[in-house]
């Protein structure tokens, strides 16, 4: 079988639409992961030991079970309890939840790297807990870990094909469908690979720029 360039060109628009869905799912999932990840990191610092332990084990559980299992669980098991979402919404939620476990570790590391003196200065200045977090601690904790966050963004992007398992029309699913209809898999799958490569490379480039920026300050 020879690679048919004309066929490849012909299916490109459809794959580009799927790429858009993939990127949207990634960005939405990552937004959820950022919010939840920060929430886990903060809740784990709770003064209540029972509470922080619970959060710890919950995060550990999410991190130590496969994403695909979580995706299936949310798609097939949760509707039995009345929680029914569209495939895309389910996929985004699963990605977000799964990656929030990783991001909470990243945030934790960033927060712990802020020197104790900063907390003490904030207290000596009588700043409220909220102000201390938003004006003093987080502005110092997050910039150094931005490159790591970026790497997780790319990792999540590369995990979106898992959503094909629950019929989300992302890149892989779209390529599979084209293959099933035309009996040609070489072109769509090659294009899927190339598109992933392209977006990942662009993202890495941006992240490296960020890294350099934070190293110089």
């Amino acid at each position: 079988m020879i690679f048919d360039w004309r066929f490849a060109l012909q299916i490109l628009p459809e794959l580009m639409r799927a790429l858009l869905v993939t990127v949207q799912a990634t960005l939405a999932g990552f937004a959820i992961a950022l919010v939840l990840g920060m929430a886990w990191a903060l809740l784990r610092r709770s003064k209540s030991v029972t509470f922080s332990r619970t959060v710890f084990w919950f995060v550990e559980f999410i991190r130590s079970t496969p994403l695909l299992v979580q995706v299936y669980f949310m798609f097939f098991a949760l509707p039995e309890y009345g929680l029914k979402l569209s495939p895309l919404a389910t996929g985004v939620a699963a990605l977000g939840l799964h990656y929030s476990a990783y991001l909470s570790e990243v945030f934790r590391a960033g927060i712990e790297a802020v020197p104790r003196g900063q907390w003490e200065a904030a207290r000596a200045l009588n700043m409220s807990r909220y102000r201390t977090w938003t004006r003093v601690i987080l502005p110092q904790a997050i910039p150094p870990v931005t490159p790591v966050l970026g790497n997780y963004l790319i990792a999540m992007f590369k995990d979106t094909p898992m959503l094909a398992a629950i019929t989300v029309m992302e890149l892989l699913q779209s390529a599979k469908l084209i293959g099933a209809q035309t009996f040609r898999y070489m072109e769509p799958l090659t294009l899927v690979g190339l598109l992933f490569l392209l977006v990942s490379l662009m993202s890495s480039f941006i992240i490296r720029r960020l890294e350099n920026k934070f190293n110089t300050v």
Binding site: G117, Q118, A124, L125, N126
Partner: protein
Amino acid sequence: MEEDDNLIAMKGVWKKYGKLEVLREFNLMASKGQKLVILGPSGSGKSTVLRILMTLEGIDSGEVKIDGESLWTMNQNGIEAAADDAHLHRIRAKVGMVFQGFNLFPHMNALRNITEAMIHVLGVPKSEARERAMALLDEVGLAGRAEAYPWQLSGGQRQRVAIARALALRPKIMLFDEITSALDPELVGEVLNVLRKLARETDITMLIVTHHMSFAKEIADRVVFMDHGEILEDGRPEDVMKNPAHERTRKFLGTVLENV
């Protein structure tokens, strides 16, 4: 002297880190406007005294009063209860602290370091906060460096910004915890000059932990010497330094004076 004349009253304070007793049945009174220098070898508990007054450390037992009010307990419908955030917030407003390691906020320039708490803790309007901060920077000799970030400043300059930052909240009590110990020798003078000026021109009660003996003698109207969590000497600087009552004080003064 009536107890309520004391701006600071620590009575029978015990503080332990694990098994280590840092303060043992510790008593210290300080009246309004007093310039008190605390001397003592490292590990004697002198920094702990300041950290307790700034609520950076709790105590195991005893009583700490600031301006006549108990720091760690409050009166709740006639019953003594543990201090809540609002109570601590109110009392903490009377105290300011300057640290050995400056602890400036590295992501804010000098001006914002000073205005941040003024605006968001005291509720001073932005323009007024800015004006007051500029005046304070001028006071500490840094009028031209308002826009500079901490990493663009020398250690001495950073410490002077930190002093201005603490003063901005207009505390009644200022705590200085070895504020020149992290500085290169040639930068110590500029920071001590700011303290001299403060001592001369304000009625702020100052508690100063330092190793600079001549400075202590010059600035203090009272010196206490601490060792192993207790006060061994307490009196006028010339008395404590020239005629200490304890052998341990003599030993300490001997080693420190040799090193100056």
